[in-house]
Amino acid sequence: MIPSFAEAIRATTQPCTLLLLLPCLLMAVITRGRWAPFAAICLGAVLGGWLFIANVVSLSDLQLQLSGAIVAIAIAVLVAAPDVTWLTWAQSPPTQTAVAGGVAFVATLWWRPCIGEELGSILTASRNDVSAQLPGITAYMLGAMVPVLAVVLIMRALDPSERVTRRAALVAGGLGLVVAGALAVGRHDELVTTFTR
């Protein structure tokens, strides 16, 4: 499990992890580095990882666009909530936690991973027995979330002012809208190509 965990950490530096990691990082910032949303992000990623190795779901182009639109709306609501009276419900911790976990789960459906030796072995073996590979993919997904943990810890260590936190959330929300919006309008290819080339 440790090699899987380590391989996932290394994979986070590669563009192919972008669609998994970036939404999770942004959600950690938008939810101000709180522990409950971080836990939900990890849970969403792990559940998505289980679904991934079960090889039962693959989003069609239309589903990809719809999921991008839903995530874009969710991010916009979370970011706008402090300034919009009728969105105050979106500031509640349970709502933010649920949205963070949901976005992480959806991001695993967008993800087309770099398949190194460990993930490759998990995927190959899961063709015969998915359940035996659950610990391995769990370790892998948690490894992929290490940069998110780093962001959470840095935010908590710096303990920035409300104004700085708000600005960081706005920037993260803007980036999130670009990523989710690109998927929603079917421009994900160009977006990843920009980062890849």
Partner: protein, 203 residues
């Protein structure tokens, strides 16, 4: 100790964990290189041959846009040879990492009835451009036949379930039956042993 200090310590610990993961990466990278060196070694280490169950005839290569670097235009023309069919795309870092090993395999066994067919299935649009594929093949040292699968119909036909992966290698025996497959990088020792075992089987 207050929460900020704890978070600061946690940040340092996470930084150490990330650094350690990249130290492990060094040994992984060497593994690929070692596999290549072992192939040139006069006395390679004995490696257990993986199970090579007969999974039946290979699926067809469908909707190809053509072939590069090839005198053949179908897998049927390669019957009688042991064939490695590798699904790859030049923009995939893990696919690229397997190519030195594939190249070593090709050099070592190419004259013994072994062939490689790289089925190039692009993930992104720039990877579908034939000129880019030709340039990447030259740059990456890919000298074996390349089947162009821009629609990815072959890519999905060969791989079970809704999700298909790069890289993925299938080894076909001399009768064109699938005997071994692996997703992702690595398992170079197993692949070497499987190729040797399949070449040793009677024609």
């Amino acid at each position: 100790m207050n929460a900020r200090a704890l978070a600061g310590i946690g940040t340092v610990v996470v930084a150490v964990v990330i650094g350690a993961a990249f130290v492990v990466d060094g040994s992984d990278g060497n593994e690929a290189a070692t596999a290549g060196i072992a192939l040139d070694d006069a006395t390679p280490t004995t490696i257990a041959v993986p199970d090579l169950p007969d999974r039946g005839p290979h699926p067809e290569l469908v909707d190809l846009a053509g072939w590069l670097q090839s005198d053949v235009t179908s897998l049927e023309e390669l019957e009688g040879k042991v064939v490695a069919v590798q699904f790859w795309t030049f923009g995939c870092s893990n696919c690229k990492a397997t190519l030195p090993h594939m190249s070593e395999l090709y050099q070592r066994y190419g004259s013994q009835g072994f062939e490689i067919v790289g089925v190039h299935a692009p993930e992104f649009s720039y990877e579908a451009d034939e000129a880019n594929i030709v340039a990447a093949a030259a740059d990456l040292g890919v000298t074996w036949p390349i089947a162009l699968d821009p629609t990815k119909r072959t890519f999905h036909l060969w791989q079970e379930g809704p999700t298909a992966h790069w890289p993925r290698i299938y080894l076909l025996d001399r009768d064109g039956h699938i005997r071994y497959d692996h997703i992702g990088e690595g398992r170079y020792d197993q692949i070497d042993a499987a190729v040797e075992a399949l070449l040793a089987e009677p024609a």
